[in-house]
Structures are given as structure tokens and as C-alpha cells.
């Protein structure tokens, strides 16, 4: 079972650029974007690009990985509270997962998420890395 091209391509604005929807009525940001705002039931949204900066709200270290993620094990997956106030789930990489702490500042980075075997599509998306203040 793989990720077929259309399904992957459709999510490019979210996966490549972290584009979210901001409700024009109440200002709530939704990631991914929605057709109707669950808060105020508004139906008009503006596209906003998340800054990519946030702090680690919670995380775990995956030691038994699903198919396709084995080469990265053990890897951290966490929920990041973005500076915009919303939460996003993603891997935290370029670090020793055991040294991560809740509250660490992180920043998003474009990385390879998966691939469909040796000859199939390569799937790109966002992951987070510790914000080293470089």
C-alpha cells in the first residue's frame, strides 16, 4: 500500500511550505487548512505560511518503526507548539533523541519523509530540528 501520486501532490502546499488556513471570521489558524472553521463555522480562509518555529510540547522515541522508517530508528516524533499557537506532529531529527526535552525550541526543515521502494516516488515534507541559534 503506497502513497499514490495525486494524493501526495495535493498535499504539497502543506508539506513543502507548511501553508495553513486562517479563518477570516475568527482568526483561528488551521493546519491543515479546512473548508469550515470548527470554532465559528466560518467558510472563508486566507492562506498563511507557518514560520516553522516552535517549541516541543511532547515527544516519544519510536524504537519499533513502521515499514519504510526502519533506517532512522530510533527517532523522535513529537508535537510542536508553533509560535502561531497551533500544534503540529512531526519527527524531530539531527539530534540525539534521548537529549531532547519538552520546551526545547525547534525549527522546521525540508526533509525526505519516505520513498516507495527503490523505483517509486520520493516523498518530501517537514521535520523539525533543534533550533541551535546559528
Amino acid at each position: 500500500m503506497g502513497m499514490h501520486v495525486a494524493r501526495y501532490w495535493r498535499e504539497i502546499p502543506e508539506r513543502y511550505r507548511m501553508e495553513a488556513g486562517k479563518c477570516k471570521k475568527c482568526g483561528t489558524i488551521h493546519f491543515p487548512a479546512r473548508l469550515i472553521c470548527p470554532g465559528c463555522q466560518g467558510r472563508e480562509f486566507a492562506t498563511v505560511r507557518l514560520s516553522g518555529k516552535g517549541e516541543l510540547a511532547t515527544f516519544t522515541i519510536i524504537r519499533v518503526a513502521p515499514t519504510g522508517f526502519g533506517d532512522l530508528t530510533p527517532y523522535a516524533v513529537g508535537i510542536v507548539k508553533m509560535d502561531e499557537g497551533i500544534h503540529v506532529m512531526a519527527q524531530i531529527v539531527d539530534c540525539n533523541p534521548e537529549e531532547l526535552k519538552i520546551g526545547d525550541r525547534v525549527v522546521s526543515q525540508f526533509r525526505r519523509i519516505n520513498q516507495e521502494g527503490k523505483t517509486g516516488m520520493i516523498i518530501y515534507g517537514y521535520k523539525f530540528v533543534p533550533d541551535l541559534g546559528l
Partner: protein
């Protein structure tokens, strides 16, 4: 006037020392270190590739350029490790930056020179006023065959340059190119690792093209080595560029800033472009920079830039190259390296 409006680089976090690789193959580490002028190299994580490095370097360039990505009219990605044999890396980079859809893109390949190839095209495209801004990236996650000399140096990194005609951080004075058909290093389509001509890669290849391009560039621009404050040559190891500099009349203070190879390795299409990025991070304004690349096959692109005061305003806006190179390194041993570089694979 045309030149560099923004620049950026990206280096993976992982490193492997020469000793680690030498240990596995029974090679004498001290003599390799001395002979190659190399101590350690960067290693891309399994989730990094030419496209991810290119995007991250380009985003840093965009931070310094401070322009709307939609104004970028052309994107050129040079690499010898494009993720797909057929499907452009350029469109991935363009989408990730937000430059689509009114953008021209092309993927380039010319061994280690593909990055500066893109820079040449980007600069002259801006000069012709066909586009307002053009992005050129050199990005590689190249491979060295297990046990081969190249395994000690084949590394990963990227540098990106946004070229424009106003608010320049570095103005272009002129360019010069020198190409011949010289088969010193190549990779056939379905081969996993490249092959090379051993000692043939020295004099008839690297030296001949780099030296001719340098001489030709200086003559064209009516300059002498003493006029150049900073020189960056292609760096396949720590020895070649230093020997070249000495033979061509340049001294250590001139090539110091741009010499990254001893702790970075050979980042192929990223090699001299990253040296340029590191130089721009620390150069004084109103100084001349000479950049000469080398790509096997073979050829060299030469550029002379003059730094401006604007450079000082923009260089703190994104991570500096030396900082990425020297800080927060994560060392790995050969087994992890082999896994990361897919030299050993799980069965599908």
C-alpha cells in the same frame, strides 16, 4: 550591475572521521590525512538528499536576499546526485520556496562544477534582463565506493545564490570558462559508484582546467593575484586547492576563508560555491573575490566578484557556513555511515 543579492548554505549535522573509514579497510589513517589534507567529512542523514540540501540552502539565501520568492524567475540546481534520473530537482526546490509557477528551471550536471554552471547561467540571465532574480544552487550527497580513496572525501552539502541587479552584496565583474573533453572521472547511468583515472585526475584534469581558467580570468579582468583578497578553488581534498593557490601565486591569507574541505570533505557541486558562501560570511566590503570551480569531464568556471557594504547588512540573517561546519557536530562510526549512505540495505 549584476551580482549576488542573497546567499546561503546547508551542511548536514553528521560527521565521520578519516580514522573511522581507514580502520575498516586497513588503511593508514595518518598518511591518508596528510596526503588528502582531510580530517573528517560531512555525512547526510538517511532523510537528506540533494533536493533537501538544495531547499534548505536556498531558504537561507532567500532570508538574506529578503525578496518575495515569487519574484524569482529562474531556478537552476546543479548536482551529480539528483534524487531522480528523470524528474527535476528544480521544480521541487521552486515549489518548496514558493517560486512557482512563473519560473524557469533546469537541472544541471557537470560533476563538481554543476553549481557554478548554474551561477554562470543565473548571472547572465539577470544581465539580459529576462528575469529579475535567478537562483543557482550547487548541492550534492555524492558517493565514494567502499574502500576507494574517494570514500574518504565524498561528502554532502549545498550552497545557493540568488542573483539580481540591485541591492547587491557582491557585484560581478566578469566570468570566464575553460572546457575540454577530458574523461578523468565519470559514472555510467546504472552504476552506483563513479570511476576515475587515478593520478590522471591531477595534472591533465584539475590542474590544466583550473589553472587555465584562472589565468584567463585574471587576464580578462586585467588583475594580478595580489589584487585578489579572497580566492576559492574547487576543493576535492585539502591538498589540490592549496597546491593550486601556491602555484598560481596566491598566499594562505587569501584562501583561508574559503577552504572548507579539511573538515567538510568534497561536496562536489557544492564545493567551491560553499567556499564562496563561507568567504562572504567573513569578507571585508569592497574587496575582490576570485572563484574558480572544477568539474570532471572537464572544465572550470571562473568569476570575479567585488563585495559591497550591503553584504555586512545581510550576512547575519541566516546561519553562517563555518558555524554549521564547526558547531553541534554528531560523529558516527562506519556501520551507521554505511547504513546512512545505503551501502548496506535491508531486504525490501
Amino acid at each position: 550591475m549584476i551580482g549576488i543579492v542573497g546567499y546561503g548554505s546547508h551542511i548536514p549535522r553528521y560527521r565521520i572521521r578519516v580514522e573511522e573509514i581507514a580502520k575498516v579497510w586497513g588503511a593508514d589513517a595518518p598518511s591518508y590525512k596528510k596526503g588528502l589534507g582531510l580530517n573528517e567529512k560531512s555525512v547526510p542523514a538517511p532523510d537528506e538528499d540533494c533536493a533537501t540540501l538544495a531547499v534548505n540552502a536556498s531558504r537561507n539565501a532567500l532570508r538574506r536576499a529578503n525578496i518575495d520568492p515569487k519574484q524569482i524567475g529562474a531556478v537552476y540546481v546543479g548536482s551529480e546526485s539528483h534524487p531522480y534520473a528523470v524528474k527535476p530537482t528544480g521544480t521541487i526546490v521552486s515549489e518548496a520556496l514558493g517560486a512557482c509557477p512563473f519560473v524557469h528551471t533546469a537541472d544541471l550536471e557537470f560533476a563538481c562544477k554543476a553549481g557554478t554552471e548554474g551561477m554562470f547561467i543565473a548571472l547572465h540571465l539577470v544581465k539580459s534582463a529576462v528575469v529579475q532574480y535567478a537562483l543557482a544552487v550547487g548541492a550534492d550527497t555524492s558517493q565514494g565506493a567502499p574502500g576507494d580513496a574517494l570514500e574518504f572525501s565524498a561528502a554532502a552539502g549545498a550552497a545557493a545564490f540568488i542573483m539580481g541587479s540591485k541591492n547587491l552584496a557582491a557585484e560581478l565583474l566578469d566570468t570566464h570558462c575553460y572546457m575540454t573533453d577530458t574523461p578523468d572521472f565519470w559514472r555510467r547511468e546504472h552504476a552506483y559508484y563513479p570511476e576515475h583515472g587515478g593520478r590522471f585526475t591531477g595534472k591533465p584534469a584539475y590542474e590544466k582546467h583550473l589553472f587555465s581558467a584562472t589565468a584567463g580570468m585574471l587576464e580578462k579582468a586585467k588583475l594580478k593575484p595580489e589584487d585578489i583578497s579572497y580566492v576559492i578553488f574547487h576543493q576535492p581534498n585539502g591538498k589540490f586547492p592549496v597546491n593550486a593557490a601556491q602555484k598560481l601565486g596566491f598566499k594562505e591569507p587569501q584562501y583561508k576563508l574559503g577552504l572548507l574541505c579539511p573538515t567538510l570533505g568534497n561536496t562536489y557541486s557544492g564545493s567551491s560555491p560553499m567556499g564562496l558562501a563561507a568567504t562572504l560570511d567573513a569578507a571585508e566590503p569592497d574587496r575582490l573575490i576570485l572563484l574558480v570551480s572544477y568539474g570532471s569531464g572537464a572544465g572550470s568556471d571562473a568569476f570575479v566578484f567585488r563585495t559591497t557594504k550591503k553584504l555586512l547588512e545581510i550576512r547575519d540573517l541566516a546561519p553562517k557556513t563555518r558555524k554549521q561546519l564547526d558547531e553541534h557536530k554528531q560523529y558516527i562510526e562506519y556501520g551507521t555511515y554505511a547504513k546512512f549512505r545505503r551501502k548496506i540495505l535491508r531486504p525490501e
